[in-house]
Symmetry: C2
């Protein structure tokens, strides 16, 4: 049953024309007679012809319409949302994407990048595994393949990057807790050795010192950026001699875990203990008034990254521009006191507009979109 592939010559033969005529029909060229076109199309349908992009891409002028997407942890909803955002714009641009999950393994990452290269991707978006170095992208960029790095910065890499304003977000969130009267605010979850964690911690410390509070090191509790990690972190935090009354969580997974842990002790998050989570994917998943969050809008970020990449692919020019996306502080009623007002609905350039639920949710965009151009 394995039919041998039907090719242009087959349908050319069936339609009684030559292969190049068929080729012209395939590209919707106006240079071909209407009748002929109809005959050719009929033959195509009849024989079940499928265009072979592999062959087409072989021609030197062709660009592959394939991009690579590499993600460090698809299990984390944040990155899944990110991938969905990318998928959206890639699909509408007629691209298809290789997606690979590295699970933080730098070896896997190297393998998949190599593999994608062999398959002729014309661009790459990557949320790099921990420990990724600038050299890892060198082969790509050297052969003119644009690369966009998202979420985590890679020092010294001459590639475009799209990061979120972690420092400003953490600072705003911490200030929010302070404004509610909290004085002992913990920072829970994440590992100290990552850049993202470092930036968020910095914003947290800035807010504390600006308010004249001293940053007690014991208030910082590292843990895995997962729900289980959040449980562990809040449990350790509750053992601190002078207990915190609120926490900034590295992650929304951590925030969920913290809520679990609080409830296990009979405390209601938001009412008895202030909780703010980062990396908001909750917003999209639930209408429940829950935690206050610092939303980086992963899906929007994905769309934006994809657009950055497409721009470079289409222009044929690879850039190395770092852009820092602003984040939004989304305050929900459960955190008690205050409701900030929504700033008017900022949307990503070219993206679809982002709905914000009206009513008891308000948000503030914090940080500014800024770009810094590096040149070789």
């Amino acid at each position: 049953m394995t039919k041998s592939r039907v090719t242009v010559v087959d349908i050319a033969h069936a339609a009684g024309v030559s292969k190049s005529t068929v080729s012209l029909v395939l590209q919707a060229s106006p240079l071909v007679n209407e009748q002929t076109r109809a005959k050719v199309n009929a033959a195509i349908r009849e024989l079940g012809y499928v265009y072979n992009r592999g062959a087409a891409n072989l021609r030197q002028t062709a660009s592959s319409k394939i991009v690579g997407i590499v993600v460090n942890d698809l299990t984390n909803s944040f990155f899944a949302e990110l991938a969905v955002g990318m998928d959206m714009v890639m699909q509408s641009a007629g691209f298809v994407q290789f997606l690979a999950n590295t699970g933080e393994s730098i070896d896997r990452q190297r393998e998949v990048i190599a593999s994608m290269r062999e398959h002729g991707i014309s661009g790459l978006i990557i949320s790099p595994a921990r420990g990724t170095e600038a050299a890892d992208f060198k082969p790509l960029t050297a052969s003119g393949v644009p690369v966009v790095v998202v979420v985590r910065n890679v020092a010294g890499a001459k590639v475009s990057s799209l990061l979120s304003d972690n420092r400003a977000g953490a600072r705003a969130a911490t200030e929010h807790l302070i404004s509610l009267g909290h004085r002992r605010i913990a920072f829970l979850g994440g590992f100290a050795d990552t850049a993202v964690s470092g930036e968020r911690m910095q914003g947290y410390r800035e807010a504390l010192s600006a308010a004249g509070l001293d940053a007690d090191a014991s208030l910082v509790v590292n843990s895995a950026p997962s729900r289980a990690g959040g449980v562990a972190a809040i449990e350790r935090a509750m053992l601190i001699s002078e207990r915190p009354t609120a926490a900034l969580c590295f992650n929304d997974a951590v925030a969920f875990g913290v809520c679990d842990g609080l409830r296990a002790r009979g405390l209601e998050p938001g009412r008895d203990f202030g909780v703010v989570g980062f990396d908001d994917v909750i917003e999209a998943q639930t209408a429940v008034p829950a935690l206050t969050t610092v939303s980086v809008d992963p899906q929007g970020m994905g769309r934006r990254a994809a657009q950055m990449l497409l721009k470079q692919i289409n222009s044929g020019r690879v850039e190395a521009e770092a852009t820092i996306a602003s984040v939004r502080l989304v305050v929900r009623q459960s955190c008690g006191a205050k409701t900030k007002t929504w700033d008017g609905g900022k949307t990503w350039d070219g993206g679809t507009s982002h709905d914000t639920a009206p009513g008891d949710t308000g948000s503030d965009t914090v940080g500014t979109d800024r770009r810094q151009h590096d040149r070789a």
Copy 2:
């Protein structure tokens, strides 16, 4: 800077041999002199040569080492886990995967399948969008491309499928709630028109009638299979004249929403109201004793589906075998009474072993793995 691609002839020239010798080296053929091999490899490294799979696949005997993966909602953690499982085995088998998210859009699905076909995928795994018909796979299977359908069955399609035992799982879960003394048990979430929902509902009804309880239609509350949907569902369920005391939730997202809704009314899930969720991804994400769940182990299912596909690709024979994967009922302490014991750690064939947290969690495998062979 856009260097023109370096090809086999270039390195053949540099190494002072012919292209076919280079080709032999690339395939690690033993037919080539050790010295020559070294020279060739040196030239490869030197000139930064990258293998061009597009060209290689052009040869008629070649198989592309590319598979397609189509998912209906990557935003749902269940499907993200599923994709991760597939990714694992595909990567280790040296395949790269096109991943596309359809978001339940059947048009998008058609587009991406067509696109993948043009790119020469040698197999497809798909969790079909609602409304997918057997005819949608016809072009693939007709050209000898194996297809594995997961999660949702597509009636009449001559493809392999891997489904979970929804009926048995729902029945076991319901029986569990009954054994805890519940008499009014609601079925919350999901849409009545989907096959998956229908199967789960059937199991639910079976358990009720086996226990001599009548299946009050008002106890079934449909809603979106999301967290927000769960909130809505429990709110409607609480308006029923004779209130339920427990619920079987279509989804774990729904289950989470139900918990949100219960807490909003001051009820603690598990203690004041029995909650069982389906589609367990929670297990992997948290160590918190939470709901009782019916776990279909999405990641393991993904691995298994990938193995099924690879088998067909490698054997060159496309099959149409339906296999129903058994599910596990995971009972956690918070559901109150009873703790069942773990059956010994069933693992998927060839998969890595699945850790089960010891301690306060027990589980039972329900349903049996069964296969039914369809032949054309």
